[in-house]
């Protein structure tokens, strides 16, 4: 049983550290790499654990509170554990007209999760997302980095099968 309070010190891996240091040099001010640094950590770990803000802030030379402020502002930075796969369902008005609410209903039936929730087995997290720019093929959704169009409520379960 894990403790409620995380006491392990957060340490960046060498890969994470060198990727963040590489990004810093694309900008006049290292702070500009803060969002990318959070994405680097998230790529390795799935989410941004407590303590990452201190470690990133130390590299970029900015307060941890600034890093945390950025981490909590952006919707695609996750400050709590998420599933192995992220389902992003486009909720633009075009996909609304295309029936995205029935897709959300189908996911709810199949996986038992609503937007913002993660399956108990840690396989999927469901999130809403701004217009995916796939409006001629509405309704659209993304699973991880894959975009799907003309999705219908009946075929969602089949799409999800490919993501173990």
């Amino acid at each position: 049983m894990s403790t409620l309070i995380q006491t392990d010190r957060f340490v960046l891996s060498d890969t994470e550290r060198s990727a963040i240091e590489h990004e810093m040099h694309h900008y006049e001010d290292p702070r500009a790499a803060s969002i990318e640094a959070l994405k680097i950590v998230q790529k390795e770990r799935g989410w941004v654990p407590d303590g990452a803000a201190d470690a990133i802030g130390a590299i970029l030379g900015i307060p941890a509170s600034d890093v945390e402020g950025v981490a909590t502002f952006y919707s695609q930075i996750f400050r709590q554990p998420v599933g192995r796969h992220i389902i992003r369902v486009c909720d633009s008005m075009t996909c609304f007209i295309g029936g995205h609410e029935s897709i959300l209903g189908s996911i709810k039936n199949h996986l038992g999760i609503a937007p913002g929730q993660t399956t108990a087995d840690g396989r999927f997290t469901l999130l809403p997302v701004c217009c995916l720019g796939n409006c001629d093929k509405a309704p659209a959704l993304m699973i991880d980095d894959d975009t799907f169009g003309n999705v219908d409520a009946g075929s969602v379960a089949q799409l999800l099968e490919a993501y173990a």
């Binding site: 702070r31 402020g69 909720d91 633009s92 008005m93 609304f96 701004c130 001629d136």
Partner: protein, 442 residues
């Protein structure tokens, strides 16, 4: 790999003379890489701009062309460029490409970046020369993973070919270009919020003035232009102002072509490059094929979530800023949406205002508090739980979140469709109150 942005734009007849943005698209939807782009006349305009033209002449050409921003606001690009300081000592300048395409029902920049990354790079190279910018960033939304991959590959190709980097084409001009990917939040598309986000801050908009041209990213002179705007620049420089001004239909006050589309329950939803001034009806009937069988057009929006709803009778309006203004709203991004007769306007507006409320950055009070209030009222009306006075509350929100009342254009964009829906479909909103009143025993 065939890109998902492959669509009707690839299939209509196109030529270099009439379709400057899309004539190089491949029939198979694959990206146009450097060799093919150059074989199709690519980077000849960049050579002309960097080697043969004086910097000031490029700015003047774009000014004379009448090119207007394609991100939705339609501000004249040449005027924006002209705001950059003349002071030569301010020699660190930036060109930012706004590729944070998240406006609901907008998918034009994605197609350009996925299929023709070199067109954007050439547009940025010429524009950077005109603006004396030594470095550019493409601010790309994180979800556009195919666009990021293709842009990065194209940048590598351009660097290897000496089209980016030091002393480009022997002109003495240096320019480096980076792709910066975001992490969500629609507000990043507001140009000063975009600058904050690029700097690694929360994407709250900045106070204007000073404008980015004077004080932009890291306090340096900065120009922010949309993807499609920048993609217009090579052909304007290459073919000249007279050619550009000959593209639009008669009667249009705007020049050139525009990526326009129609989506919703139309027969053939899609995106096409069309001349400004084309009647919306032509776009709807000839290109999108009209409504699918069994559905009737109830309302339409000319260009994105932040534009107002119009009625079927307004389809005769020509698609240019002034033409759409005449029927009461803005052309926006020019990618229209058909609302069919199966859609309840209260439910549609509830969906839209949920989006705008969620995406408010929370910086100014009217937007942060007003948009969730509109959602609360719309949800109640949708359930049939509306109170007397709810429509007046919504109308008040339309006014008090309107232009000039908030820190940026987010809230005004959110209430424009709401105001027009209340104007044209008032009984649907009233029905949300009537249901409850009818349920109360006499």
């Amino acid at each position: 790999m065939i890109l998902t942005s492959m669509g009707p734009a690839n299939r209509i007849a196109r030529s270099a003379e009439t379709h400057p943005l899309t004539w190089r698209l491949r029939d198979d939807g694959e990206p146009v890489w450097l060799a093919e782009y150059q074989a199709k006349n690519g980077y000849t305009a960049a050579r002309k701009a960097l080697v043969d033209m004086a910097q000031a002449d490029i700015v003047q050409t774009v000014k004379d062309s009448g090119l207007k921003g394609r991100g939705g606001a339609g501000f004249p690009t040449g005027v924006k460029w002209g705001l950059m300081p003349n002071d030569e000592s301010m020699n660190i300048r930036y060109l930012l490409c706004n590729a944070d395409e998240m406006e609901p029902n907008t998918w034009k920049d994605r197609m350009l970046m996925e299929q023709q990354p070199h067109l954007l790079i050439e547009g940025m190279l010429i524009s950077a020369r005109a603006l004396k910018a030594y470095r550019g960033y493409i601010f790309l939304r994180g979800e556009y993973v195919d666009a990021a991959r293709n842009l990065n590959k194209a940048i590598d190709e351009a660097k290897a070919a000496g089209l980016l980097g030091k002393n480009i084409l022997g002109s003495g001009f240096d320019f480096e270009l980076f792709v910066h990917t975001g992490a969500g939040r629609y507000i990043c598309g507001e140009e000063t919020a975009l600058i904050n986000s690029l700097e690694g801050r929360r994407a709250n908009p900045r106070s204007k003035p000073p404008f980015p041209a004077a004080v932009g990213v890291w306090g340096k002179p900065t120009c922010v232009n949309n993807v499609e705007t920048l993609c217009n620049v090579p052909a304007i420089v290459g073919n000249g102002v007279d050619w550009y001004k000959s593209l639009a239909r008669a009667g249009s006050e705007d020049h050139g072509t525009k990526l326009m589309g129609f989506s919703g329950k139309v027969k053939n939803p899609g995106l096409w490059e069309l001349p400004f001034g084309v009647p919306a009806r032509e776009l709807f009937e000839d290109y999108a094929g009209g409504m699918r069988d069994g559905f009737k057009l109830k309302a339409w929006q000319p260009g994105g979530a932040g534009t107002g709803f119009l009625l079927p009778e307004h389809l005769d309006a020509p698609m240019f800023a002034g033409g759409i203004a005449k029927v009461g709203t803005r052309m926006g991004t020019g990618l229209a949406l058909a609302v069919d007769d199966s859609i309840n306007m209260v439910s549609l507006l509830r969906n839209m205002e949920e989006f705008f409320a969620r995406e408010s950055c929370g910086w100014c009070t009217p937007c942060r508090d007003g948009l969730p209030w509109s959602v609360k009222v719309l949800r109640a009306l949708e359930r049939g739980d509306g109170q007397a006075g709810d429509l007046e509350t919504l109308e008040q929100l339309v006014t008090s979140l309107g232009p000039g009342r908030t820190f940026c254009a987010h809230a005004p964009g959110a209430v424009e469709p709401l105001g027009s829906a209340l104007k044209y479909f008032r009984p649907e909103f009233e029905a949300g109150i009537a249901k409850q009143a009818a349920a109360v025993p006499a």
